[in-house]
């Protein structure tokens, strides 16, 4: 470590075209900076982030033996990486660098040139004072265990497991039921191409059961997970009927986890005026699937229904229950229309919907085909749900469904002998337990949260934990499979690298000072602090630490040091702000 007196700092003031220069007198700033102690040179340039700008830094480091660099330009979010890499290419440790944001936090937000220039001087001075105390830091790497834990044996879990196992990795697949297939195993045909769900599953199940690299735990669940990315230890327990009681616990070593726990269907009895549970011929979509798989679509009285009504959005898209769309019900309803009409061409099908969401490949064509088959589409207003009554004996139908039909503007009643409720998807009741076990978050509806909804759809905020399929949000089979393969690909990329790089910005416990109060253990949002039972002190797992600083602030003994955010560095920066 060089002492402060040996610091040779280069300061670069960017004009950002006119973005900075039009509000800040950069020459005056440069002149001021030149007089600050330890500053060897201060330069202004049109675009510091350009190649010539970066080369200037590299050249100056070499020629003037600079050992610290400050760039006053835009936000570090924008170009900190750029300048750090310039330092690296000049052979200087990348952490001996500090950025002063004189664009977003100065030139863009001020109207007075004089004051803005003064503020820029203060910000740069603070950066100079801080950079003096910067240390050389090195990022570290940890080993990556190639075994993977997949939770859930539905189409998502099986797809991910096969993908990983085929690449030669050992996969532990945990399934709570005594068979594989998940919710898809309850379905007959799939929309819109009417492929058999059984055919989709059988091949996968057979391969998994015969795969040397897949170990399936039936009637089991994950009961504990410790460690961090690349080095997890998972406990898998056998379910024995009692919800919170598992036996025959097995511990396995894994590097990554893929959560594919799926969904459960909405409880139709919650919507009182649909009469589910009271009217015998009001059934849910899954009950109809059962009938179709058995080969007979009949009423409870054993008759072939002449009028069949299908009601969409049961539990979905409503203020009262779930506000989201369950995505698969529209096409599944059309599939039912098709299946019922094929089974009984004399039947009439009324499809009672809010909006027809035919967003996917082949969906719009499927919708049109349903129209061609004379499915009667009737639209109702969100939150003005249909009401199902028993018909009178003189009617030629079992039930009458009363609804304000939006497209005609009429209050109508629809004859029905069989009513199918398209129950939506909701998060499983045990999803909260899973979330707690693997340390991931859930949204207001209970779905697991991705680390970025657009750019990181299968990663979570916990490294090494991935999510795929309908435990993330309602989705159809192609999307589920795509996510499962995406998650597997992410895991495979890490396995093939063999180790995992850990950013140098993490906190560390100064062991001599730690009293073992364990305050930090509970506060850490990333579960990165463990307690060493032998030494009776806390220990930070650097691979899990994000360097947020909560423990640093909380430690009553000042025993935790945030690397690159030491007290000395931060205080010097604050002092620097008030010097000019």
């Amino acid at each position: 470590m060089e002492s402060n007196t040996n610091c040779r700092i280069g300061v670069y003031i960017c004009m950002c075209g006119t973005n900075i220069a039009k509000m800040i007198d950069v020459e005056s700033v440069a002149k001021f900076v030149s007089s600050v102690p330890n500053v060897v040179l201060a330069k202004t340039y049109k675009y510091m982030c350009s190649n010539p700008g970066q080369e200037m830094i590299v050249q100056d480091i070499k020629e003037n033996h600079l050992n610290r660099v400050v760039v006053a330009a835009c936000s570090p979010n924008m170009h900190e990486r750029t300048f750090r890499s310039a330092l690296r290419s000049a052979g200087l440790n990348q952490y001996l660098f500090e950025m002063a944001n004189i664009r977003e936090q100065c030139s863009w937000v001020h109207k007075d040139t004089e004051e803005a220039t003064l503020k820029a001087k203060e910000l740069i001075n603070a950066a100079i004072k801080r950079v003096v105390y910067h240390e050389e830091l090195e990022s570290m790497s940890v080993a990556m265990c190639p075994n993977v834990l997949v939770i859930g044996g539905g189409i998502a879990g099986m797809t991910a497991a096969l993908e990983l196992a085929d690449a030669g990795n050992l996969v532990y697949l945990v399934e709570k039921e005594n068979h594989l297939g998940g919710n898809l195993a309850r379905v007959d045909l799939t929309a819109p191409y009417l492929y058999s769900a059984r055919d989709l599953l059988t091949e996968r199940i057979t391969r998994i059961m015969n795969h040397k690299q897949v170990q399936v735990f039936f009637e089991s669940r994950l009961s504990g997970l410790t460690g961090f990315i690349g080095n997890f230890k998972a406990t898998i327990g056998k379910l024995n009927g009692e919800p919170d009681n598992v036996t025959n616990q097995v511990e396995v070593e894994i590097g990554n986890v893929i959560v594919c726990t799926g969904f459960k269907e909405f409880d139709a009895a919650r919507i009182v005026h649909y009469g589910y549970g009271k009217l015998p011929n009001v059934i849910t979509s899954f009950e109809l699937e059962k009938m179709i798989r058995a080969g007979r679509i009949i009423t409870k009285e054993g008759k072939t229904p002449k009028y069949v009504a299908i009601i969409h959005c049961v539990g979905s898209r409503s203020q009262e229950f779930h506000t989201y769309c369950s995505r698969v019900c529209c096409m599944t309803a059309l599939k039912y229309a098709h299946e019922i009409k094929s089974a009984n061409p004399e039947s009439y099908i009324s499809d009672i919907y809010i909006d027809m969401h035919a967003f996917g490949k082949g969906h719009e064509d499927f919708y049109k085909r349903s129209s061609e088959a004379k499915t009667l589409f009737l639209m109702y207003e969100k939150d003005d749900r249909p009401v199902i009554h028993k018909a009178s004996p003189k009617d030629d139908c079992e039930m009458l469904i009363e609804v304000n039909e939006k497209l005609s503007g009429e209050l109508i009643e629809i004859p029905a002998d069989l009513v199918v409720l398209m129950v939506g998807m909701e998060a499983r009741e045990d999803s909260h337990d899973i979330a707690r076990l693997v340390n991931i978050s859930q949204d207001k509806d209970g779905w697991f949260i991705e680390s970025h909804p657009k750019l990181e759809p299968v990663a979570t905020t916990t490294d090494g934990i991935f999510i795929a399929g309908t435990c993330v949000a309602p989705k159809d089979i192609p999307d589920t499979v795509a996510q499962a393969r995406a998650a597997a690909a992410r895991v495979l990329a890490r396995i093939s690298k063999g180790k995992i790089e850990v950013d140098a910005l993490f906190s560390e416990v100064i062991e001599d000072k730690c009293s073992g109060c364990r305050l930090c253990n509970q506060l850490c949002p990333y579960n990165a602090i463990e307690f060493d039972d032998v030494k009776k002190i806390s220990h930070i797992i650097s691979a899990l630490c994000k360097g947020c600083g909560v423990c640093v602030a909380a430690c009553p003994s000042a025993a935790i040091r945030g690397r690159h955010f030491t007290d000395q560095q931060v205080l010097a920066q604050v002092e620097g702000l008030f010097e000019t």
Binding site: Y348, L376, L400, S408, E410, I412
Partner: protein, 385 residues
């Protein structure tokens, strides 16, 4: 009170020609492109909707199908190929059978066999009757005057009898239409003076078919073509009807040509011949959207009319050239077409001659009465409360 949906209705309408209405997803493109749809009469969209849902009690009281002249733009624009134009046509057929209390129209529209067999039966009965009459008192070699095979005084009485029957059916059907539209289907008061005030609508629409000409602006046809030709056909038809019903005795005299009467006959024949030829040709070629689909009754309509016009011309030529035997035989053949044609009128497409102008008349009455009602509600809110 909720209206009962009837999912089976769409199958029934299939027989009237509405083959694609199930494809409609109510985007409303058809009503946007229609030159006649407005705030009060929203069609074809709403008519399509009522049909899909089988709201019979709504459709039987609507005027919208009659307000459409089938320019076919809606069918061209329809993103789902639901053919709104043909659907409106099929609704007109359905309404004709609805106004008809005998149920004959329904049978004719639904079964070509019934229709054609009925026409042939009536034609044979006509022939037997005329031949019996002719041979019992007349001479096949005499066409007019004393001893004529079919004397003009007899034909005149015969025409008037058939005309009377025709009129009774048409009038009762028109009254039925009025009841459905203005009583059952109108839920606001209609003062009698609006009926008087709007009376001019009847002759105006009957003789000008102005709304049809407005359709033209949207069409790909040569300008005014179907409108002018349809107008010519209609004028020819009405002229011929008047000639036959009133001036048959002057017409039948001869063999010299009486220009003061015959000139009307010739003009009417040109109108009829051009019209039938034009529509038959278009239906064969399917060259414009409104001729792409032809219901069986459409073919019977144009073919029977063409038959009558051709046999009429032949009979005229034989008579004027002194071939009395041929003229008398052609006369029987001609009447074998005319009698079923006239008797079929109230139960067929032809009846739109009456229903269309009536619909325009009722539509304007309703419009004015509705506006009056709205202004009453606006000006005396206290009374309403």
């Amino acid at each position: 009170m909720a209206i009962r949906v009837n999912p089976t209705f769409i199958d029934d309408l299939n027989r009237y020609g509405a083959e694609d209405v199930q494809l409609c997803y109510q985007c409303g493109d058809c009503s946007t492109v229609c030159p006649h749809a407005d705030d009060m009469y929203i069609f074809p969209r709403k008519s399509m909707r009522f049909l899909q849902m089988g709201l019979e009690q709504k459709i039987e009281t609507t005027l919208e199908p009659w307000l459409c002249y089938y320019c076919g733009q809606c069918s061209i624009q329809c993103p789902r190929e639901a053919d709104p134009g043909e659907t409106m046509m099929s609704l007109r057929r359905w309404l004709i059978s609805k106004y008809d209390f005998t149920g004959i129209a329904r049978k004719f529209f639904k079964s070509r066999l019934t229709e054609v067999l009925t026409i042939i039966t009536v034609a044979v009965i006509t022939a037997v009757f005329l031949l019996f009459y002719g041979f019992s008192g007349g001479n096949l070699t005499i066409y007019d005057g004393k001893g004529a095979f079919l004397p003009s005084t007899f034909i005149h009485r015969f025409d008037l009898t058939i005309g009377g029957v025709l009129l009774i059916f048409l009038l009762t059907n028109a009254i039925h239409m009025w009841y459905l539209v203005m009583i059952k289907g109108t839920d606001f008061p209609v003062p009698w003076w609006i009926y008087i005030k709007q009376l001019y609508q009847l002759p105006w629409h009957f003789f000008t078919q102005k709304r049809y000409s407005e359709c033209e602006k949207k069409q790909e046809h040569p300008v005014f073509m179907p409108w002018l030709i349809h107008l010519g056909l209609m004028f020819g038809y009405v002229t011929m009807l008047v000639l036959v019903m009133v001036f048959i005795e002057q017409l039948q005299a001869g063999p010299e040509i009486r220009w003061q009467v015959h000139i009307f006959g010739y003009l009417a024949t040109i109108g009829l011949l051009t019209g039938t030829f034009y529509f038959i040709r278009n239906r064969i070629r399917k060259n414009y959207v409104q001729y792409k689909k032809s219901h069986g009754t459409d073919w019977v309509f144009v073919i029977l009319l063409f038959y009558i016009v051709l046999t009429g011309i032949l009979q005229h030529v034989f008579h004027r050239t002194g071939l009395n035997v041929a003229a008398n035989i052609t006369y029987v053949i001609h009447l074998m077409g005319v009698v079923p044609w006239l008797l079929r009128m109230p139960f067929s497409k032809w009846s739109h001659l009456i229903y269309r102008p009536l619909a325009m008349y009722f539509a304007e009455i309703r419009r004015e009465a509705a506006a009056r009602q709205a202004s009453i509600i606006q000006t005396v809110p206290v009374l309403i409360k």
